[in-house]
Subunit: 472 residues, 2 copies
């Protein structure tokens, strides 16, 4: 990569080496050099070290690699050289810690130069008091735009939008638009399209920059604008907006208020974050963790994980009481106790497979209730066939282990039953939760484990009690 090359060339000057090591992590030598400069309060030295670390993502990774107490000092020493955009790339905990420790004056200064979406992103994590204090000191115009965004629901498209955009009237010519670009001083930093509006700010269409560049100067905007615009309502959920971007491969999209007036623009870089967050949420939910981050401390982690364990405790007791029903049977045939976890765990794994596929299909909107019977039937077949093959192997091994082929047959049949049930419930549970507007990724695993444990233990122990004629 070019920037690594460049930093390596500077090595002789700074002595700190490259920002990143071969694996892409921030290098220890570089952070050591930064740390020294901070300890010596040597602002010039720090600025020289940072001169080549231009991108906010690199600055953010570096901040995270520093000790917490060094982070605010780092920002203050850099002064005007520090771009507050880097804060948006930080872990939430780190960001909040820094904002709490920095003097309000420094924060207000830094926020002045931010794009509105970045400013909202930073402000929404602060408590009401700090937020009000910062907003109070910002210029009136900025403040109004920020307040409008902050008034929208959390996780709405309006929270992620940039309120700085370019809008031109339809009667302008291509030449007028280009001249406007050449003369205007306060254009957004980057943009990919121009919006076309009527006098009441109602969106008439968009114009991609490449189309603008291909048209003759005298062409009227109304002749070339694209009126089939996929627009996003400011109050719409950010997930919905992300789905629109994905489906139609958008790079940016206009955001409109309830009257169809243009209020902002969503760009793909914000949407990429949303897409990642959504996938991340599903993985975490299926794994039974809340929205914890790697920088979280022990109490936060416990808050994120305890509820899931607590619910699973009930599941575990339900399963145990099923076993309790058969304590007499187990007492007389202890091999059952040895083998029973096999039936439950294989069912659990098979159910998790069906559930994973269903949860993802729901998230991607690939499955509708109409297809449920077909999917269910397929899962039953898969359960029967996979169960059959495994039953043969497990039954043989179990039968030989305890020199009891009938026991092998019993575990085999129980396994097939549990795997068919597991496959079907792996589909039914997420579909049902989705129907009742509950998040299938969060709640499915607990319900599924309950089913596969109960059915597994009941089928195996019940079948054995009946077959061998051992009462409970």
């Amino acid at each position: 990569m070019s920037d690594t090359d460049r930093i390596t060339e500077d090595e002789a000057v700074t002595g700190a080496g490259a920002l990143r090591d071969a694996e892409g992590h921030i290098s220890a030598a570089f952070t050591d050099a930064i740390r020294e400069a901070i300890d010596a309060a040597a602002a010039d030295q720090l600025k020289q070290l940072m001169a080549d670390v231009a991108h906010e993502a690199d600055v953010a990774d570096l901040i995270e690699a520093l000790d917490p107490e060094h982070r605010p000092i780092f920002i203050q020493l850099l002064g005007a050289d520090f771009d507050f955009t880097a804060l948006t790339e930080l872990d939430e905990n780190v960001r909040v810690q820094i904002l709490e420790e920095l003097p309000t004056e420094t924060v207000v200064e830094g926020m002045r130069d931010l794009d509105s979406d970045d400013a909202v992103y930073i402000l929404e994590d602060l408590d009401a008091e700090d937020r009000a204090e910062i907003l109070d000191r910002l210029p009136v115009l900025d403040r109004a735009a920020l307040l409008r965004s902050l008034d929208l629901p959390e996780e709405s498209a309006g929270r992620r939008m940039q309120t700085d955009f370019i809008a031109v009237p339809a009667y302008w010519s291509v030449g007028q638009v280009i001249d406007y670009f050449r003369d205007a001083k306060d254009l957004p930093e980057t943009f990919y399209e121009v919006f076309v509006i009527d006098p009441f700010y109602k969106l008439l269409g968009t114009l991609a920059l490449d189309k603008l560049l291909r048209s003759k100067r005298q062409t009227r905007i109304e002749q070339i604008l694209d009126s089939e615009v996929r627009r996003v309502a400011a109050t719409e959920d950010q997930e919905e907006a992300a789905r629109l971007f994905e489906r139609y491969n958008l790079v940016s999209a206009p955001v409109v208020d309830e009257n169809g007036r243009l209020v902002g623009v969503l760009t793909i870089d914000d949407i990429v974050d949303v897409i990642q967050e959504e996938a991340e949420e599903d993985i975490r939910a299926l794994g039974g963790v809340g929205d914890e981050e790697l920088s979280d401390r022990v109490p936060a982690i416990i808050r994120s994980r305890f509820p899931w364990l607590f619910f699973n405790m009930f599941t575990a007791f339900v399963a145990a009481s099923v076993i309790g029903l058969f304590d007499g049977t187990i007492e007389r045939m202890v091999a059952l106790a040895v083998l029973m976890p096999i039936v439950a765990s294989m069912g659990g794994n098979a159910g998790t497979q069906a559930m994973t596929v269903t949860v993802r299909a729901l998230a991607a909107r690939e499955i509708s209730r109409r297809q449920a019977p077909r999917v269910l039937w397929r899962e039953a077949c898969v359960g029967l066939l996979n169960g059959g093959m495994l039953a043969l192997m497990i039954g043989t091994v179990a039968g030989m282990w305890f020199s009891d082929l009938q026991l092998g047959a019993v575990i085999g049949v129980a396994l097939i039953i549990n795997m068919v049930v597991a496959g079907c419930f792996g589909v039914l549970i997420p579909l049902t939760l989705d129907r009742f507007k509950l998040d299938p990724a969060v709640a499915s695993p607990v319900f599924l484990t309950t089913v596969t444990d109960v059915v597994g233990f009941f089928a195996f122990l019940g079948l054995a009690a009946w077959w061998f004629g051992i009462g409970f």
Copy 2:
């Protein structure tokens, strides 16, 4: 959304209603109308129905909603009205099925108008023979570009790149570039930046369109180009490229060959797909499913799921043999058999939580080996505290259930041991796998279950055997 509105207005004309229902699924009424047109081989009627379904993503969703045998006929009836780009939005199975059934002539015709990245995407799924047949009939220039991409490793950046791009010499002026845009006939469909090259096609820098538009006509390109370009090597893994896009919020990036010559451009829409695939892969791996799709048939599903179940079978037998060690103990105290799954399953859940967080942190490159001791210590604390709280509850209930407070104490201690071990191994297993360049998402769950089952059963039954003085 505007297009839904538009289609609704047309309802009176077509009688088919909107393409999508309120939930965003393809509407049954619309597919019925399409099906009727196909059955009647009424090309005009079909074209009229499809006149408003312009976007390839909508066309693809519609194709997936049709019966398999209707899909190729649908494409043939639409003829030149069908944009082959829609094929890239289909599920792999559906795409392959359609391509196998369509006459080669139709496929070649359709491929002619495709962007190179879309053509590669379609060709790479075909078997060598079909691929060669299609390539043979394409124009020479297109064929050469496609062959170059197809020669690169699968899942490399070069496979996803578009070979159609705009490159200009550094000595041109802004005015010359704009005039070139206005006159050139075969520009790429959309583009966000212009590349600046030397006479040997070596990349000198890029120029965003907005920057071009803001500059005076007489400005030389070399004065305004951005030379700090993050370029991607054609052979680089697509995941690495995606990480670059994410980190630096890129919209497009130049792809260069081993000599630094510009060979193509990667755009964010392709990268969004890669990002999604990566997250998807981790979810599937953790859930124990291969790369199956919702349209897969039973044999494909079994191939995707059986290996995981097979490995878990060994895990289950290992756990069972641990229980087998204590069969004498269980025979004399059957309550142990009833309670033992609680210890194993709570440990399994706690371990899964730690593992999920670690696997994601590894995927996001948020964790390095240097931090391992700190993370491990934190997981041990979490295990101790969560384990302690649950031990208190579970121990009390178990003690009352079997009127044996000592049994409650034994299960409590065993639970704490298992949860601390589970937390630590939830971190250690993925880190170790990653160190040996194995995919932590694929292999971690099996190893983790083995550990939590073995430790859970061993700690509980062993402790009970020792405490109550019951030999094995």
